[in-house]
């Protein structure tokens, strides 16, 4: 059933729709009194007398309007009001409890309904559980956080006066540092800087250039264990092989015997020595 009604008529395209159907609908479906309904316009009466489709439509609309008007003309019996009110008051006096089909709540609406203990617990169990979970979480987090703030042993030296400061003598600042002594040390260093025979800048640069190659082996030497020179093959390929003492080898493998020892000494037995940088 469609809620919206198209007053223009059927929607089928092949239907023969009178072009004055809408006019008839508008004229007869309106809320009119009986006199208005009887006194239709002469043009509408003429069209209804000639168009059977619109006449059928008009008969239906007039029939519905007449039926509604006849329903509205029905008057209830005089005793009905009194009977209905008496029955109704009887029901209201009994606390709103109906004697008919349905029943309504009979407690007064002004008084709040008090739940039982079980209903109260059930109703408040969820918020209580949520609040307890949040409190537990906050407690655990707070306990861990406060534990992380405690001073750990051996983690940091206690805060005290600076090295060189003598808090027991002399003029002290806010942090207990002997300010006069520190001032004297700074002045001595300033005198040393000003009165020293400063070397020229070029000489300092030459010294740095000369010291630079020596610095590299120093660093390598600190990384490597103290041992003999490395295998030339490993050195050639850049392999940082573990150091093997020279005397610990029982015999070199054939492919690693480069014959340098024999080249150096042809008379004696072969000496298995690794070539060193100095030999090359």
């Amino acid at each position: 059933m469609n809620d919206e009604h198209d007053l223009a008529g059927p929607e089928t395209p092949d239907a023969q729709v009178c072009p004055k159907r809408l006019w008839v609908l508008n004229a007869l479906s309106d809320d009119m009194s009986g006199e208005e309904l009887d006194a239709l316009s002469p043009g509408l009466q003429f069209h209804l007398s000639r168009c059977p489709e619109c006449r059928s439509l008009a008969d239906g609309l007039v029939g519905v309007t007449t039926g509604l008007r006849s329903l509205a003309a029905m008057e209830q019996p005089g005793s009905l009001v009194a009977a209905a009110n008496g029955q109704l008051f009887d029901a209201l006096k009994s606390g709103g409890r109906l004697t008919g089909r349905t029943e309504v709540r009979d407690e007064p609406w002004e008084e709040p309904v008090r739940p039982s203990v079980g209903e109260f617990l059930v109703g408040h169990l969820r918020p209580l559980a949520i609040a307890a979970s949040i409190a537990l979480f906050i407690g655990v987090v707070g306990w861990r956080w406060s534990g992380s703030l405690r001073p750990q042993p051996h983690s940091q030296a206690p805060i005290g006066p600076m090295a060189g400061a003598d808090p027991s003598a002399g003029e002290k600042g806010e942090s207990g540092i002997n300010v006069r002594k520190l001032k004297g040390q700074l002045l001595e260093r300033k005198d040393i800087i000003e009165n020293s025979d400063a070397e020229p800048v070029e000489q300092l640069a030459d010294d740095s250039q000369r010291r630079k190659p020596d610095a590299e082996p120093e660093r390598r030497r600190t990384r490597l264990p103290p041992c003999g020179p490395m295998d030339p093959v490993d050195t050639a390929f850049g392999v940082d092989a573990p150091c093997i003492p020279r005397g610990s080898l029982s015999g070199p493998p054939a492919e690693r015997d480069l014959g340098w020892g024999r080249a150096l000494d042809n008379s004696g037995p072969p000496v298995f020595t690794s070539p060193t940088t100095k030999d090359r």
């Binding site: 009604h5 309106d30 509604l68 509205a72 029905m74 009194a82 209201l92 006096k93």
Partner: protein
């Protein structure tokens, strides 16, 4: 016939039925009815009860059904938790009464259909289905069923305008629509009713 004891709290329906006016029954029902929680309901009954009862009578046409619908309507109002929650008590009362009446018409129709099936199966006479409608015009039963089948917004306008005979301004105020809209709805309802009754007004 006046009751033997005027201070009697509970009166029978027959005793109340003989009382002529609403005021008489209202005065006899005190003090239980006139307490605070039912005061606004009694005022509503006093003011709009006759109009609602008239609408119900025109829609239902049977005294027993009218009394049941009337009682249900106001007892639901009395059971309302807070009267201030009602924006428009009069509109609520009319809507509640019309809804109860429409449900009665629908249940009556369902019962008639099932009763016919039972009679056809048992083979008995189909005589005592329902009490006849009192002073109803011809074909009014079909028209009432068609009203019950209308869409809600159209049905409410027809009930308030044609059966309760309220002016369009009041119909629009009670339904929360413009009076012109109520008039258009009523026109659509007439066309739809003609279609439902199959008397040539519809698309069929």
């Amino acid at each position: 016939m006046a009751p033997a004891n005027p201070s009697q709290d509970r009166m029978s329906i027959a005793e109340v039925a003989v009382s002529a006016t609403f005021q008489d029954a209202f005065e006899r029902s005190t003090p239980e009815v006139r307490d605070q929680r039912h005061a606004w309901v009694t005022r509503l009954i006093e003011r709009d009860g006759p109009g609602i009862l008239r609408m119900l009578w025109r829609l239902l046409g049977r005294e027993a059904d009218v009394l049941d619908a009337y009682q249900d309507c106001f007892c639901k109002l009395a059971a309302f938790p807070k009267p201030q929650d009602l924006k428009y008590a009069k509109a609520y009362a009319y809507k509640a009464a019309s809804n109860i009446a429409i449900e009665l018409i629908r249940s009556r129709k369902r019962r008639a259909v099932h009763w016919e099936a039972v009679v056809a199966e048992k083979g008995g006479p189909a005589c005592e289905t329902a009490p006849p409608e009192v002073a109803s015009p011809a074909n009014s039963g079909r028209l009432r069923e068609a009203i019950a089948e209308l869409p809600t917004h159209l049905r409410q306008v027809v009930l308030l305008r044609d059966l309760a005979q309220r002016p369009y301004e009041e119909v629009g105020r009670m339904l929360g629509i413009d009076p012109a809209t109520a008039r258009v709805y009523r026109r659509h309802a007439v066309v739809k009713l003609a279609e439902l009754m199959g008397v040539g007004g519809g698309r069929s």
